[in-house]
């Protein structure tokens, strides 16, 4: 081969291998298409702007019907104009749940049947695309009794442009822009069954795992303050509301990791009951003494994040400025594709620059993203340090290792290897609450929800030490009540954290984590042993005294015994157990007053059948009277939420 031959060949190639004129569409056609799309983008952006100004608060039922009708019509239009070639990911999802009392616009039955039709249309498209070899998988499934969806994954992500028409209306791809308008609500919450009263004689032990998550609170705030609706009962986790606030608990003594304290008084909603507060304060460690960290930020920059992205960026920049020289940061984004933005970077300027350059696009191959995040975490693993992946997403993992079992297995395995996972949820409309919480639980991490910039900064910066550094893992609490003093008890909230009594000392059994300086608060409703018979019978119907019950409780003056068991974050077989017995429980202080107010609001909001006498009004009064110093302003904000909820209820 010499130069001449090569040059000749290149010339020949240039002459011969040119695209045939017929292969391309008309240039004018191309131009028209481009301007159409550009105009659509502009319209989309305008819609975003409008949304941020909260103008379309009243999405009328007609708007819904129209929106869905268009969604349903688009695939047909598409099919006529361009037979199924090209690629891209598309997803249709419709919530066809039964009308709920406070579910807002979903009540509209005709709209729902249109939505179901849209799902059908998408499905036939997916089948078509699959048959043509355009997409490599599609799934049309009944995820639950409530949600039907079609998910199709196409070979060429870039070709999602071909689905431009759909993208605009699809809630999952560019959805945040349109979801609130069409209000196809695809949020999922796990069913939560309230705990009943348990008789102490037959169930003296109450065991639960620590939970310092606060996502439930932020999620609730979003629905009430931003979307003007009362949240569905299952989305309310009272323990997360209570744990959102700071309390004034005694600090652990030297050598202690956790220190419990107790307060008890009459339940505000029923004087025949007592309300017991159990508060646990974790040790505080100054920032300088913390072990070095490696954070892998795994950022969902898919189109659906468009609306929240500026907030995420600003919060991350603030966090970046808090990092110490010994800390390292990696960053992986997934959207149009998975890309590694930072690989073990320790330079704050570079970090800030990279954050500023982020930009949402494309769809969401979440599975692949999470895998490369773990690879980076392993690559830069700091022995004895804090190795953590921080996932920031609106919760759609719709490609790759998306099957939940696979995902959780991986998170599980890596946790054992010392890499933890925290989850920051954001976005709205297609937010998968249950999946997020499950991931964080499996990954020994926290789960928080970002709905406002303030919340994002709070979680990333002020809460960073707690959210990002684990002090004790698998933290379990167990209360043993004395049947001679307590007739029955009921733990408020913690439904998803319930543990079997025998699991308390089973260290294989995973439980919640507590970060540095964090607090855990639990409330028990208690029916005292000396309560009137009628109250007792109402609380635990059909309970008869045991024939062979041990009487040891009668000899003891103790009211209850509190045990806590936890492990150090690193290594195995490091479980420690602490026990404290109480005879006298201190009278209510401000901690109790505040927690009682929050609990009353939560119980009333979820229309608890065990506490029917709770009202928003009473809760608001108690909350207003106990605002305290409130340096962060979060308590005042909560008062606002309660008042707004009361107004919404009247409507």
């Amino acid at each position: 081969m010499n130069d001449k031959i090569l040059d000749d060949a290149l010339t020949q190639l240039k002459a011969e291998k040119t695209p045939h004129a017929g292969e391309f569409s008309d240039a004018a056609d191309f131009e028209r298409k481009f301007f159409e799309r550009a105009a659509r983008e502009e319209a989309l952006r305008d819609a975003m702007k409008r949304r941020s100004r909260k103008i379309f608060a009243f999405a009328a039922v007609f708007a819904l019907a129209f929106g869905v009708a268009v969604t349903a019509a688009i695939p047909m239009v598409y099919k006529r104009s361009e037979p199924a070639i090209g690629g891209g990911g598309f997803v249709a999802e419709a919530d066809s749940s039964e009308p709920k009392r406070d579910a807002g616009i979903e009540k509209d039955a005709p709209a729902l049947s249109i939505a179901a039709k849209a799902v059908k249309e998408y499905k036939s498209m997916a089948v078509d695309a699959y048959a043509h070899g355009v997409c490599y998988s599609y799934k049309a499934s009944k995820l639950s009794a409530k949600t039907k969806s079609v998910v199709a994954c196409c070979k060429e992500p870039n070709a999602s442009t071909k689905f431009g028409n759909i993208m605009f209306f699809d809630s999952r791809i560019y959805g945040t822009a349109t979801a609130p308008q069409t209000r196809l609500n695809t949020e999922e919450y796990k069913d939560v069954n309230e705990r009943p009263f348990l008789a102490t004689a037959t169930n003296p032990l109450s065991t639960f795992g620590a939970d310092v998550d606060t996502a439930g609170y932020a999620n609730l705030r979003r629905m009430i303050l931003q979307e003007d609706r009362l949240p569905p009962a299952n989305s309310i986790r009272i323990e997360e509301l209570i744990n959102y606030f700071d309390y004034d608990y005694p600090i652990p003594k030297k050598g202690e990791l956790l220190r419990p304290c107790f307060e008890m008084g009459d339940a505000p909603w029923d004087p025949a009951r007592k309300l017991l507060l159990v508060g646990v304060q974790a040790k505080k460690i100054p920032k300088e003494e913390l072990p070095p960290s490696h954070y892998v930020f795994l950022i969902d920059n898919s189109g659906s994040m468009y609306g929240v992205f500026p907030m995420v960026k600003e919060a991350m920049t603030t966090l970046a400025k808090q990092l110490r020289p010994c800390d390292r940061v990696s960053m992986v984004t997934y959207g149009g594709g998975v890309s590694i933005v930072l690989d073990g970077c320790g330079d704050i300027d570079t970090l800030c620059r990279k954050i500023a350059e982020l930009e949402p696009e494309g769809y969401t191959p979440g599975g692949e993203g999470i895998q490369s995040a773990y690879r980076l975490a392993e690559k830069h693993f700091i022995k004895g340090g804090n190795n953590r992946i921080v996932l920031i997403t609106d919760g759609d993992f719709n490609v790759g290792a998306s099957s939940e079992a696979e995902l959780t297995e991986m998170v599980d395995k890596k946790r054992a290897a010392g890499i933890y996972l925290s989850v920051a949820g954001c976005g709205m409309g297609n937010y998968k609450d249950n999946k997020m919480k499950m991931l964080a639980n499996k990954g020994n991490g926290n789960y928080f929800y970002l709905d406002t910039l303030r919340e994002a900064k709070q979680a990333f910066v002020h809460g960073m030490t707690g959210n990002m550094y684990t002090l004790a893992k698998d933290v379990k609490f167990q209360l043993e009540f004395n049947p001679a003093k307590v007739y029955a008890y009921r733990l408020i909230g913690y439904e998803l954290r319930e543990l079997a009594d025998r699991d308390f000392r089973d260290d294989e059994r995973d439980s919640g984590e507590v970060g540095i300086g964090q607090q855990v608060t639990a409330l028990y409703e208690i029916i005292p042993a000396d309560a009137p018979e009628a109250v007792k019978a109402a609380a635990v119907p059909g309970q008869k005294p045991l024939k062979y019950a041990a009487d040891s409780g009668k000899k003891s003056a103790e009211f209850l015994t509190f045990r806590m068991r936890y492990q150090k974050p690193q290594g195995k077989n490091t479980a420690e157990e602490k026990e404290v017995a109480l005879t006298e429980i201190p009278a209510p202080q401000q901690n109790w007053q505040w927690a009682a107010g929050v609990a009353e609001f939560g119980l009333s909001l979820r229309r608890s059948k065990f506490a029917p006498k709770t009202t928003f009004g009473n809760a608001a009064k108690r909350i207003q009277a106990n605002l305290g110093d409130d340096p962060s302003g979060s308590r005042a904000e909560f008062l606002l939420i309660v008042k707004r909820a009361a107004e919404l209820l009247k409507k």
């Binding site: 081969m1 190639l13 391309f24």
Partner: protein, 167 residues
């Protein structure tokens, strides 16, 4: 029509044929070529305000289009199933239309590193004069020629090992 729209319209009219010719050589088929160019134009359109002060809109769009095209290829490579189809199809296409050395040369060009591939695509295989191609790639003419030279060396090397027998 706004100034922005006008500029994009002009861009479409003036540059589309050249862009198509070049991107086609990178991605290998007309449908993908148009997709890539549409995407590039849209990205430019989206970011127009922040770009404005910077520099030449044309060379900017070229760079975006090129990145999009290479992104597409990279993505394809990642997906094993898709890759199989793609290379099969490409091979069939090449085999059908042209023969022998040219087919091999085509494959060799596709195997070049991105920088050198774009140097060949715009600097040699397009009808652009050298300085025009350099302008669009945002490098000096000299750099472009250096890259072309290096690319040709690589091509020769590849064709030698591929061929075995020197022609």
């Amino acid at each position: 029509m706004t100034e922005k729209d006008e500029r994009f319209q002009r861009l479409c009219r003036d540059e589309l044929p050249i862009l198509r010719g070049g991107i086609y050589r990178i991605v290998g088929n007309a449908a993908d070529t148009d997709d890539v160019i549409q995407e590039a134009l849209l990205r430019a359109y989206r970011k127009y305000d922040s770009f404005r002060s910077e520099s030449n809109l044309r060379s900017w769009v070229y760079r975006i289009a090129q990145n999009c095209a290479f992104d597409l290829l990279r993505r394809r490579k990642r997906e094993a199933a898709a890759r199989e189809n793609y290379s099969e199809r490409q091979k069939a296409e090449i085999g059908g239309k042209i023969s022998g050395l040219l087919a091999k040369l085509e494959l060799a060009v596709a195997a070049l590193p991105e920088t050198y591939r774009s140097a060949i695509v715009w600097g040699v295989l397009s009808d652009l004069p050298g300085h025009e191609a350099a302008l669009r790639l945002k490098c000096t003419e000299n750099t472009l020629y250096q890259r072309v030279f290096r690319a040709k060396q690589m091509l020769k090397e590849m064709l030698k090992t591929e061929n075995g027998d020197e022609r």
